[in-house]
């Protein structure tokens, strides 16, 4: 009895780890391609409007990187659409009637749109002409955003379920599609994630621009991309802090235990402190080695320094999320957000002084910031997903009761296979992307579309 209980617990843990691993790897690519698709659409639009060749160069430069990242996003995404069934069969059976149609709409409205026009975007310039090509790029960009809409609606429903009832088989059935789709946390989560994708991409573009500026500060392409990225940092990073705060207040209203874990608040208290550092201890329900600012958490969460803030003591212990993970993931995310805002402000200051393309310190910092957006995105997902535990659907279905009838050995073996394959394949992909990024954007090869078109192909066929 005890033994079978243990192996069951292991299977749940391994299944959770497998989902976390495959989804964390996957999110890296959409976070990048959502932003990059929009960036490419802007570049192509600006080129068509101004005919400034620098935009065309940048488009050709980044579209190759986009192609590699998008391919990796597609293959890691196919895995996700089957992960629900292999390891989370009970969840699929019960929640399928709600989340299934939403994901069905994602496939029908987004995935086909992206995939359908991607071919034209990557290979069709000499076949369709520049206006239709721009349309294809726009469709790919729109597709990535629509995809975010649906999948974040699904995730938000699991966090703040609404518009449903239960049937006699224990399945969730929808009573109002509008309420289910636009559930309470959805608008905040969607805005927060889209901004995160744009910011992450902006910092990658900024890092590549800065890298090439460090080698040649006169490079027009490097200047253009660095400047565009720093505008994004200056405007979007503060906006993200604002949206993140709204999202936090929404979470406090609907998932107070999650916020208590984020803050490390074990006890309900007025004038609640903000912990800058500390090691939350789940057993003793205390924060060890705490460095704190009294009253600041009350001020942030209730906008009143003396207000009472709900702690984990209001919830039974078996409904606590793992506090330390949520606490630290939250600090990593916020810390990176603050750094991004500071870089944005610094670049604005340098732009005013006329030193945007000269400040080596700024460029070096921007290079270092390049990968941090991805870290923040993953940390943010850890906050929201681990913070929801022990529930898979908040308050309604426990994660431990949602798992498939599979044993630990099978889940463990497939997990190992995923880890090896992902590191191998996506490691190679990252190398290819970095190699592309190391290439000088000034020397991007622009095929002479005016000369290649149908004529060349006709010639080719006549020859044979």
């Amino acid at each position: 009895m005890l033994e079978s209980w243990f192996s069951q617990a292991d299977a749940v843990l391994l299944a959770r780890f497998q989902f976390a691993f495959t989804v964390a790897f996957h999110i890296i690519f959409p976070a990048f391609t959502i932003g990059l698709a929009s960036f490419l659409a802007v570049l192509e639009g600006l080129y068509l409007k101004t005919r400034n060749p620098v935009y065309q160069k940048l488009f050709r430069y980044w579209v190759k990187i986009f192609a590699v990242a998008f391919g990796m996003g597609v293959v890691s995404g196919i895995v996700m659409s089957y992960q629900f069934g292999t390891n989370w069969a009970v969840f699929s059976d019960k929640a399928g009637p709600v989340i299934g149609p939403l994901m069905g709409y994602e496939v029908l409205t987004a995935f086909f749109l992206e995939a359908g026009f991607l071919g034209v975007m990557l290979f069709g310039m000499n076949k369709v002409g520049e206006r239709l090509h721009f349309f294809a790029t726009l469709m790919v960009a729109v597709g990535t955003a629509i995809s975010a809409f649906w999948i974040l609606s699904v995730n938000s429903w699991m966090q703040t379920p609404a518009g449903f009832a239960m049937n006699e088989q224990g399945q969730f059935i929808v009573t109002s599609w509008f309420e289910a789709i636009f559930n309470p946390s959805f608008p905040y989560r969607l805005a927060h994630m889209l901004l995160a994708a744009y910011l992450t991409t902006a910092f990658v573009v900024g890092a590549v621009g800065a890298w090439h500026l460090l080698k040649d500060s006169t490079s027009a392409s490097a200047r253009k991309m660095f400047s565009m990225a720093m505008w994004m940092a200056l405007i979007v990073a503060p906006l993200q802090v604002f949206v993140g705060d709204l999202h936090g207040l929404n979470t406090q209203e609907h998932q107070p235990a999650k916020v208590a874990a984020m803050e490390g608040h074990f006890e309900t208290q007025s004038n609640a402190p903000l912990y800058l550092f500390g090691l939350p201890n789940q057993t003793t329900a205390e924060v060890d080695y705490a460095v704190k600012i009294p009253g600041l958490a009350s001020l942030i969460l209730q906008h009143d320094i003396n207000a009472e803030v709900t702690g984990l003591d209001q919830f039974p212990r078996d409904e606590w999320p793992p506090v330390a993970i949520v606490f630290w993931a939250f600090r990593i995310m916020v810390g990176i957000g603050v750094l991004m805002m500071l870089i944005g402000l610094w670049s604005g200051f340098q732009r005013l002084r006329g030193g945007l393309y000269q400040s080596k310190m700024l460029h070096r910092s921007a290079v270092l910031m390049g990968p941090l957006g991805f870290v923040a995105v993953i940390a943010g997902w850890v906050v929201t997903e681990v913070g929801r535990q022990p529930w898979v659907i908040q308050g309604l279905l426990r994660t431990s009761e949602a798992v498939s009838p599979v044993d630990a050995v099978g889940v463990g073996a497939s997990l190992l296979a995923f880890i090896i394959v992902y590191f191998l394949v996506f490691g190679a992909g990252t190398v290819y992307i970095l190699r592309k990024m190391a290439g000088d954007p000034e020397h991007t090869h622009i095929p002479d579309y005016a000369r290649i078109p149908m004529a060349a192909e006709r010639l080719y066929h006549e020859e044979k």
Binding site: T86, D93, L118, S404
Partner: protein, 333 residues
């Protein structure tokens, strides 16, 4: 309205669209060992580079659609087919990234060629195994899979895996006949001829074996009115197979691919008749597996409007890239 039945038809269309489209691009990976010339391989990959992504999206629709409208079937099938599903996913990863990587790699192109080849083979073989495992039947107790880890493994499922590989290679070869010329096309013609014969033999062998071994499948094929199909389908197979071989002999360029699709369609109908109305053979019918009506109707509205639009712009993409793929089109590095 019988939403479950409509959805069973729609998902069948999605699965067939997947087989028809991803079939040829998986087939091209499977055919790599017969084409060792570097330029030929580049050209083969370029014939599918603009479209493979959309082709695989049908697989996502199959998975997502099953979860949306037949959640019970999804939650039983995937644990039952756990290992072949994981193998298929890993195979698809290796071959999907190879499209990009083989042109980006400096010294390791041959490794990505192997990954393209093996990934395609593993994905196609796993799909065949899953098909075979469904025909064998799946154990269910209390809305959950109750069989073992290796129930999917049997001589029949291995045979089904090989048969699907042969079928995809046939689709790949006939696709190459349409999209290429010269030496590459000539080689595809001779491969397609052999593969056609193998494919027809495989379908015949599988049918005879199924009817003689598995009681449930045999029952439906030997009782009226389905027994009429016992005479109709082999007849249809003979006609379509003959059409395929004739088109190949006459060196037609477009027709062989369509005839090959016809062979697939007949096998597909045979499969559907063998298990209808079960979704999990022979435990759960499509009506038992269906989710609540309002989930089915909600997604149906979107499907009815969007699937024709998807066919339209997918068709447009194929039209943009119509005609022969020249050696230097596609990837420029």
């Amino acid at each position: 309205m019988d939403y479950a039945l409509i959805w069973a038809a729609l998902i069948s269309i999605a699965v067939f669209a997947y087989v028809a489209l991803d079939g040829f691009d998986l087939g091209i990976g499977l055919l790599f060992p017969w084409f060792t010339n570097e330029q030929h391989r580049d050209r083969m990959v370029n014939t599918v580079a603009p479209v493979w992504d959309g082709n695989e999206t049908w697989l996502v629709l199959g998975g997502g659609g099953l979860l949306a409208v037949f959640p019970l079937a999804y939650s039983v099938l995937l644990p039952a087919l756990y290992m072949p599903v994981i193998a298929m996913l890993l195979g698809l990863i290796f071959r999907g990234v190879a499209f990009e990587f083989r042109f980006k790699s400096r010294n390791n192109k041959h490794w990505w060629d192997r990954s393209f080849m093996l990934g395609s083979a593993v994905a196609a073989f796993s799909q065949g195994v899953m098909l075979g495992a469904m025909l064998q039947g799946i154990d269910v107790t209390d809305r959950a899979y109750s069989g073992g880890w290796f129930d999917w493994l049997s001589p029949f499922t291995i045979f089904a895996g090989i048969a699907v590989c042969i079928g995809y290679m046939l689709l790949g070869a006939t696709w190459l006949i349409m999209k290429t010329d010269g030496q590459l096309q000539g080689r595809s013609f001779s491969l397609a001829r052999n593969l056609s014969l193998l494919m027809i033999l495989a379908i015949a062998a599988a049918s005879i074996y199924l009817v003689s071994t598995y009681g449930q499948v045999a029952d439906r094929w030997l009782t009226w009115p389905t027994s009429a199909g016992l005479w109709l389908l082999p007849f249809a197979l003979a006609i379509v197979g003959g059409g395929l071989l004739t088109a190949l002999n006459k060196k037609r360029e477009g027709a062989p691919y369509l005839w090959a699709l016809g062979v697939f369609l007949i096998a597909f109908i045979g499969f559907a008749v063998s298990i209808f109305p079960y979704l999990i053979p022979f435990e759960i019918t499509l009506w038992e597996a269906a989710g609540p009506d309002n989930s089915l109707s909600f997604l149906l509205v979107g499907a009815v409007i969007l699937i024709p639009i998807i066919f339209a712009y997918t068709g447009y993409t194929y039209w943009v890239f119509r005609g022969k793929t020249s050696e230097d089109s596609g990837y420029h590095e």
